[in-house]
């Protein structure tokens, strides 16, 4: 009897202690990619992004407005299908496929006009050869405006970065080609200006914070008209790798 009880209590104690080691169903690691969307398409009030025939990114009644920027984590996929639909009679602006790798960050840029909508997706990498991504800042620049002019981005008074000079309106190819962030040690709070080839100022933006660890996409939007003046948009990337 006594031995029995001892054995029983030892068993019980063991069960209690080991119970903590039992694992339920392990949560599957999430298979996601970072996907930011930028709307520089000025001919519609808003657009709706749909990825892989899934639910739209934005609620149906309030798409992503012109100049809008949004960040999503989406299931990674091969040959993901992205549709972008305009609020103008739900016209389809973009219908494309691309691959979203796990734990990678991407950004989709929409611009152009209803007759010729343009779109590209960038892979958002840390600049090559960077030892500590948090110690430097990175910038890239796209001309997404409806303009035939060549434009140059000036960051404060500094000499413009070579890749930011005399950029014509992007095509999907030139945009994709300029996807690399250019590292800069020129951190601080800056005034940005964009000038055309005659040195005339098209747009200006004050108080732009650029701290170590910030990766920004700067883009020119608009057509210079009254309803869509030239505008410097800033994507403050939540993650790149």
């Amino acid at each position: 009897m006594k031995r029995n009880r001892k054995a029983f209590s030892a068993l019980f104690l063991g069960a209690v202690l080991l119970a903590g080691c039992i694992k339920d169903e392990e949560p599957e690691p999430e298979v996601r990619s970072g996907f930011a969307v930028v709307n520089s398409f000025l001919e519609a009030r808003a657009v709706q992004h749909r990825l892989d025939m899934g639910r739209g990114f934005q609620p149906l009644n309030q798409g992503l407005q012109y100049r809008g920027i949004d960040f999503y984590a989406v299931p990674s996929c091969v040959d993901c299908k992205l549709e972008i639909i305009s609020s103008n009679e739900l016209a389809q602006l973009v219908d494309t496929t691309f691959t979203l790798e796990e734990n990678r960050y991407y950004t989709s840029f929409l611009f152009g006009t209803e007759t010729a909508p343009l779109h590209f997706v960038t892979e958002d990498h840390v600049p090559e050869g960077t030892e500590d991504p948090a110690a430097i800042a990175g910038v890239r620049f796209f001309n997404l405006a409806e303009t035939s002019q060549r434009v140059t981005l000036h960051i404060a008074e500094a000499e413009p970065i070579e890749a930011f000079r005399n950029r014509t309106k992007e095509t999907p190819e030139t945009g994709k080609h300029a996807e690399e962030f250019i590292p800069t040690a020129h951190t601080g709070t800056h005034v940005l200006t964009i000038q055309d080839e005659d040195g005339e100022q098209l747009a200006r933006r004050t108080g732009v914070a650029l701290d170590p660890g910030d990766y920004l996409t700067l883009f020119l939007a608009g057509d210079g008209g009254e309803s869509a003046p030239y505008y410097i948009g800033i994507v403050r990337h939540r993650g790149i790798n």
Binding site: G188, T189, V191, R205, T206, G207, V208, A209
Partner: protein, 239 residues
């Protein structure tokens, strides 16, 4: 034998539980803090970050308002203060400052997006004051976007020299004008007058300068719309 084990158990429990006893823990003294004053007219409000952390109540802080209680910032050097405008996240201020224990500070932001300005004052009782609760003291800033030089009139009092013909403050003049200047106690109509004698703005209610009041008075507004001129009054904590 049994007794011995009892004694051992007793000693052991005294030793073990002894660590739970607390002596007189030193109470940290939470005196001091920073009053944040937003007079930046070009945005509805501003976001404040200290050491990249948001501050409750200043998230955002509206134009022409100030934090109702001084906000305690842990003392130390190189405390980073950032202020962002609600308009397109313009960073207006990115500065570091030294926070000393038991000192009251004020952070004042003003100017324009093109030329944002900011300074931090130390809010002290004027020197050689025997009883700080028996006097009233004032300081005056011109924080309005105007080229006019302005003078503060407190009731019928002869304007204090430091409150006369003040141009728009720079961070340096603001800091230099941080001292409170004792004035006669009372309740006054307060107005700001430009160099031509034209009244720029009058405080709509009388300002109570009873004994023990330490008050910052400032002009805010913008010349582009004279209706925006406004006399701000901020009661301050001092020590």
């Amino acid at each position: 034998m049994k007794k011995l084990s009892l004694i051992v158990a007793f000693v052991a429990s005294v030793v073990l539980l002894g660590s739970c006893l607390r002596g007189n823990d030193p109470e940290p003294e939470r005196v001091g803090g920073t009053t944040f004053i937003n007079t930046f007219i070009e945005a509805d409000a501003a976001f404040y970050y200290v050491g990249r952390n948001t501050i409750e109540g200043l998230n955002p802080l509206g134009y022409r308002t100030f934090s109702q209680w001084p906000i305690y910032i842990f003392p130390g050097e190189n405390r980073r203060l950032e202020i962002y405008s609600t308009y397109e996240d313009n960073r207006l201020v990115d500065t570091t400052f030294t926070v000393q224990d038991s000192v009251y500070y004020s952070s004042i932001v003003y100017g324009t997006h093109d030329d944002p300005r900011h300074f931090i004052t130390e809010d002290r009782i004027p020197e050689d004051v025997d009883d700080p609760a028996a006097i009233a003291a004032v300081r005056f800033y011109n924080l309005a976007n105007t080229d006019r030089r302005v003078t503060l009139h407190i009731g019928e009092m002869e304007p204090v020299a430091a409150f006369r013909n003040r141009p728009l403050e720079t961070p340096q003049t603001g800091k230099a004008g941080e001292d409170f200047i004792p004035v006669a106690t009372g309740t006054y109509i307060v107005s700001v007058v430009d160099e031509d004698g034209e009244t720029v703005a009058t405080r709509e209610s009388r300002v109570d300068l009873s004994a023990g009041s330490y008050i910052s008075i400032f002009l805010t507004g913008d010349e582009r719309d004279p209706n925006t001129f406004y006399v701000g009054v901020v009661p301050q904590w001092v020590n």
